[in-house]
Structures are given as C-alpha cells and as structure tokens.
C-alpha cells in the first residue's frame, strides 16, 4: 500500500479526532459558560466577539507557548509518555462508536467489550503520570484515581451488561439499529430506556459511574484542588497538561456517547422517520451526547465533592449490589416478556 492508497484510510480514521478536537474546544468554552450562568455571571465574554466564543482558541494558543517543564527528579520517559497514552486510549475507544448510520470506525462484534477494555488503559496512564512526576501529591492523586476508576468500572460494566442482555449484541451499531422506530406505547421511540423499567435504574447507575470514571464532580477526587493541588497533573504544564485535559474531555464525551447509544437510541431520530438519515443521524447522536455532557456540567456546578471513604462506600456498598440485583431483575424481565 503506498501512502496515496492509505490516504483515504487515514482520513477515515481521523474523523473522530477532528470531532474530539472541535468538541473539546467547544466543551471547555461551554463548561465556563455553564459555570458562569449558574453562578449568575456571564463567563468569558471578550475573546472573539459573541460571548467570547474564541476563548478556547486563545487558551490553546497560550498553552502552546508555554515552557515545557519536566521536573528534574522525574522519570523522564514515563513523564512524557503518560499524557499521550491517556489521550491515545480515549481516542482508540472512539473506534467502535457509531457516529451515524454511515460512519463507524470499526464495525466489530465485540465493540462494547473492546471499549471497556481500552478505557482501562486510562487508569494505567494516570498511575504512570503520578508515579513519574516524583511528587507526593501526584502519587496520592494517581492512587486515588486508580482506586476510583477500578472500583467504578464494576458498576459501569454491570449496567452496560444489563443493556446488552436486552439488546442481545455487543456490536454498538447493531444495538443502535435495533432501537429505530417509534412503537413503544404507540408514540415513544424504541429506545432501550423505554423498553424495560429496570433499565431506568441501570441508567442511573451507569450515569453515576461514568461521572466517577471521568472524574467529574462530585467524584473529582483525583484533582481535588483543595487537597491535592491538581492530583496526578500537578507537575504537568503546557501542552502535556493540555493533553490530559483533552483526554479528560474526550473521555467525558466517549462515555456520554456510550450512554446515548445504550439508552437513547444512538443516531436514531426521536421522531421516527422525520429528520432521519446519516447527516441528521450524526446530529442527533452528538445532540444526545452533548445533553449528557451538559448534565455532567450542571451537576459539577451544583454538588460538592465526596470524601474518599464516601466515594468507596457509594461504589462498593450501594452501586455494586444494586447493579447486580438490577442485572438479575432485567434478566428475569427479559425471560418473562
């Protein structure tokens, strides 16, 4: 294969990257606007004219200009490598997300399995960053993060599996396709959330867990500024730090999109055949994802942070038992109806 022949493939593969970058710039701006509005402020207003829309570009420019600092005692290779591993893991997971009926990076039958496996790399990169920084705050932050991510993976997986029981496929494209149409109770879309009362509970568990997995408030212990400076990112600055931020926002989008696929019909239009098609499909899919992202931001500016022991208590004593019970109930429901 010459480079020319591989060009279409490269473009094909780059599509999610473009989406992530645009989304990240937008989401950072949006996060600040949401924070501003909720606090009766306006947020960024000056850069670029209308409501400071170019604020993220200005920030990016600033980050690019920053000095590249690596602590003298740090483990140089791991320190440099960690942010890229983190972003790579987030990015790789987008391969199995069906952005529209016409585009999906890799249409494989073990999509969900692959996605959950590859996101586990995030934990490793976080530990890598914390350890390589040679800083006790970083290390503490990294350990907290790792503990949190590993713990919350269990309820996430249980919630996802509950959906898979109903859907009967690990391929996310198939899962999306089976949710098309508007037959539930005669008018509701055939989204899985409406298919089974216990899936509602599954969604709540899923949503709480993805908040914790992407370390959003109220589970932002890894970066709890008041205790750990910035957790595992303490020693990072400039573009390396930006890479972490990018990965974090990408992770947020990834999990929101996964939620949209599993519970809200992916790229299906909420109006059946109306506004349907690949382009509209992409729009609807991103729209649903962004709504979940917005809810995450909304929660961030509403709730205070959990304590470490409360975080673990919530996971191991409440969410995990609940998700197992729910799993069994969903299986029963599927057998009976």
């Amino acid at each position: 294969m010459t480079w020319l022949e591989s060009l279409p493939l490269a473009v094909f593969v780059m599509i999610p990257l473009v989406i992530i970058l645009i989304y990240a710039l937008f989401a950072i701006w949006m996060e600040r606007k949401v924070a501003g509005f909720i606090q009766d402020r306006l947020g960024p207003m000056r850069v670029g004219g209308w409501h400071g829309w170019a604020q993220s570009f200005a920030d990016l420019l600033k980050l690019i200009q920053k000095e590249d600092i690596i602590p003298a005692e740090a483990s140089k290779f791991l320190f440099r490598f960690a942010p890229f591993l983190m972003f790579a893991a987030s990015y790789a997971a987008f391969a199995v997300i069906p952005f529209s009926s016409a585009y999906m990076g890799s249409n494989i039958d073990i999509g969900v399995f692959y996605l959950l496996a590859i996101t586990s790399l995030l934990t490793i990169s976080v530990i890598m960053a914390g350890w390589a920084s040679n800083n006790k705050w970083s290390l503490l932050g990294a350990m907290r993060t790792a503990a949190q991510m590993v713990s919350y993976e269990v309820p996430t997986i249980m919630a996802v599996l509950s959906v898979i029981i109903v859907a009967g496929s690990l391929n996310l494209m198939t899962v999306t396709e089976m949710q098309s149409g508007n037959d539930t109770l005669g008018f509701l879309p055939n989204w899985l959330i409406f298919q089974n009362p216990f899936l509602l509970v599954a969604f709540v568990i899923f949503f709480i867990s993805i908040l914790a997995e992407s370390h959003r408030v109220p589970f932002d212990l890894p970066e709890s500024e008041s205790e750990l400076v910035a957790g595992f990112q303490t020693e990072y600055s400039g573009m390396r730090w930006a890479m972490f931020m990018l990965a974090e926002y990408a992770d947020m989008l990834l999990l929101s999109l996964l939620g949209a696929v599993l519970f809200f019909g992916g790229w299906n239009s909420p109006f059946g055949g109306f506004m349907d098609g690949p382009i509209w499909g992409f729009f609807w899919f991103m729209f649903k994802g962004m709504i979940l992202v917005f809810v995450m931001m909304w929660i961030r500016w509403t709730l205070p942070r959990y304590r470490v022991d409360q975080l673990m208590y919530l996971c191991w004593s409440i969410l995990i038992p609940l998700s197992f019970i729910n799993f069994v109930l969903i299986a029963l429901w599927e057998m009976l109806f």
């Binding site: 949401v34 509005f37 909720i38 009766d40 402020r41 306006l42 909304w298 509403t302 709730l303 409440i318």
Partner: protein, 391 residues
C-alpha cells in the same frame, strides 16, 4: 434497611432540589456588569478620590490634622501684610500661601474624615475611581497651584518680614527692659513674686519652681512651672496675687488640662503690689487634641514675666509648656518646661531675655544682671508627671 432507603431517597431528593436551583440560575439573568463597557452609577457620596479646590483653601491645616493616616501634607507661608490673597467662595479671607498641598492617595483609606473639618468645604471626594497606576509616586496628588519660583519668592518675603518683626520686638523689649530696671532698682522688694509665678503643677509637679527670684535684685526669675499634661496648672502665680482669682475655669488658671475641658481660661490678675500677671490658658480640645495653655503674667511694674504653658492634651499627650517671663529688669528669662516629660523646671535664667530651661531635678538660674541664683526646684523627680504621661 428502611433507614437506608429513606436516606437514599433523601439524597436523591436533595440532589434534584439542588439541581433545580442551579438550573433556575442558569436561565436567570446575570448580575454582573461588563465593566469597561458598562459602569454602575455610584452613590452620590461615594468615596473614590479626594479633590481639593485649592482656590478655596485657606491653609488652616484642619484636614491634615484630622487624617488618621497622615496622608495630607500641607505647608503654608504667611502672606505679606500688603498682599491680598482674596477671599474664598464662602467669604473667608485667605492669609496664607499654600506652598505645598499633597495627598498621598496610596495611603488614604477613604475614611472621609478630612472633609468634615474643612471650614470652606474645599476638600471633598469625587467619583473618579479609575486611577490605578504602575508607580506609587503617581498616586501622590499635588494640589498647590504655585510654581516653585513663586514659592521661593513668597518664602523669601515672609522671611524678611519675620526678621523685621523680630527686630522690632527686640527693640521694644530693650526699651521695656530699660524702664523695668529703673523701676526695680527703686522697688526691689515688690517684685519677687514674679518669680514664683508659675508653680508647677497643682499636683506635685516637682517642677515647682521656686524661682528663686530674688537673686539679683528681687528680680524675679522666672517661673516655671509647667504642668504636666494632666493635672497641672501652670500659671499659678504665687507671689503674684491675683492669680488665683479671676481665673475662670479652674481656679488655677489652666483649665483644661486633665479633663480636657476646653475653653480658654484667662486670668489677668493684677498683682497686689502692682505686679500684674496675666495668665492665659487655652486648654486643649476635649479629647486628645493638644491644646495650649499660655500664661503670660506680665509684671506690672517692674517685673513683667511671661509664662506660657502648654499643657499637653487631655489624654496624656505631653504637651509643651513654656513659660517665658521677661523680667522687667533684665532678668528673667524664659522658662521652658515640658511637662509631659517629667522634666520641667526651669532652670536657668540667662541674660536678659534669655531663656530658662528647666530640668526639674535642679537647675541654676542666672540672673543676669547681677548674680547667679540657683533654682532648685523640687528635688524629686515628679512622680505625678509619670502619671501624667499615662493619663
């Protein structure tokens, strides 16, 4: 179990309540201003920046004295007799050149205290608040409108005039001295009183000077006394009658002292023997404003003495007391005593109009003219004076 469910329900409920509140604010109006583009209207009396309308300033220094942080610095120069500086907008005659009027806004704490005492209302707050600067020196605002040349010129004029005035005074004093010496030669005994004239304080201020007057020919020495801030009353002229009498306020001529009783007290005793003394006391302002007390006894006949005492403030701020008797005959001098410090006692009288400075511990008085007298004021350092300081 039931409890856990209740708790779980409570948790969910409070989360949704909280999210309800935040989403309402999300859609609610913002309360902030886009500052450089929009500005709030300041209340009318907002304290933002001081301004001095220098044309109306009479240089009374009241604003500078009122400032708790001393950020106003005023220097004035007396205008010559033939110069008319005009009137302020409310009709007060201006008599001083304002050679310096600076306000250090970096020090100012915007308490607004300086604006109230101004008799002409020419120092006030304006509503300009955007005057931050990279250099602190630029926050020192200068309001005087005189050029450096003009300042130099008025200062020179003032100096010359002051010199002339002094000369005149000296001449007058010399003439008086001549007259006095004549008189005292003839009636020496009647004058001694002057010397004791200012006893120290009522309360044991050591400095009670005994003046030992007499030294030369009954020429009084001087007196002294200076009362301490708190409880002393200068001016009591002992040999000179009259002191006690006719002194308004506190009997002892200097009011105000301890208790900050304002009010001036003047006593113009007339000496029984023809030696009138004058005591003027201007006590301080009631609270901590140092006042001055002046007692200026002038001997009627031969021994005029002048005693000035400026007691400290009511509150233990040591003031200064000066007593400057001028003896008729060439003798007396001036006595200065600084009460607050416990060291008052006049001490020496030097030469004719000389000065007497008193150290309470003891002091020598020279009576010019003739002989030296020692003035031994109280030997003990005044206990009371110490108290005075803390009063």
């Amino acid at each position: 179990m039931v409890h856990s469910f209740k708790q779980g329900w409570q948790t969910l409920k409070s989360i949704f309540t909280g999210m309800g509140i935040t989403i309402r604010h999300f859609f609610g109006p913002s309360v902030t201003l886009q500052y450089p583009d929009e500005r709030d209207v300041l209340p009318k009396l907002a304290r933002s920046k001081l301004f001095v309308n220098i044309d109306d300033c009479i240089g009374c220094n009241l604003c500078a004295r009122a400032c708790p942080v001393n950020c106003i610095d005023i220097e004035t120069v007396k205008a010559g007799a033939d110069v008319d500086l005009g009137k302020t907008s409310n009709g007060s005659q201006k008599r001083l050149w304002i050679s310096r009027f600076v306000i250090d806004m970096a020090k100012c704490m915007y308490c607004d205290l300086c604006t109230y005492p101004c008799p002409t209302d020419c120092i006030y707050m304006v509503q300009e608040y955007e005057y931050s600067d990279f250099n602190r020196d630029n926050l020192v605002y200068k309001f005087s409108n005189l050029t450096p040349e003009k300042i130099a010129e008025v200062k020179e004029t003032a100096r010359i005039e002051a010199e002339e005035a002094e000369k005149k005074k000296a001449e007058e004093a010399a003439a008086k001295a001549a007259r006095a010496s004549k008189a005292s030669d003839s009636r020496p005994s009647s004058v001694p009183g002057a010397a004791r004239g200012i006893p120290g304080s009522a309360k044991g201020i050591p400095g009670k000077a005994k003046g030992i007057p007499g030294a030369s020919k009954g020429v009084p020495g001087k007196a002294q006394g200076i009362p301490g801030a708190a409880k002393s009353i200068p001016g009591k002229a002992k040999g000179i009658p009259g002191a006690a009498k006719g002194v308004p306020g506190k009997a002892k001529s200097i009011p105000g002292t301890a208790k900050g009783v304002p009010g001036a007290a003047k006593s113009v005793p007339t000496a029984a023997k023809g030696v009138p003394g004058k005591a003027k006391g201007v006590p301080g302002a009631a609270k901590g404003v140092p006042g001055k007390a002046k007692s200026v006894p002038t001997a009627a006949k031969n021994v005029p003495g002048k005693a000035k005492s400026i007691p400290g403030t009511a509150k233990g701020v040591p003031g200064k007391a000066k007593s400057v008797p001028t003896s008729a005959k060439s003798v007396p001098g001036k006595a200065k005593s600084v009460p607050g410090t416990a060291k008052s006692v006049p001490g020496k009288a030097k030469g004719v109009p000389g000065k007497a400075k008193g150290v309470p511990g003891g002091g020598a008085a020279k009576v010019p003219g003739k002989s030296t007298a020692k003035q031994v004021p109280g030997k003990k350092p005044p206990k009371e004076n110490k108290d005075n300081n803390t009063d």
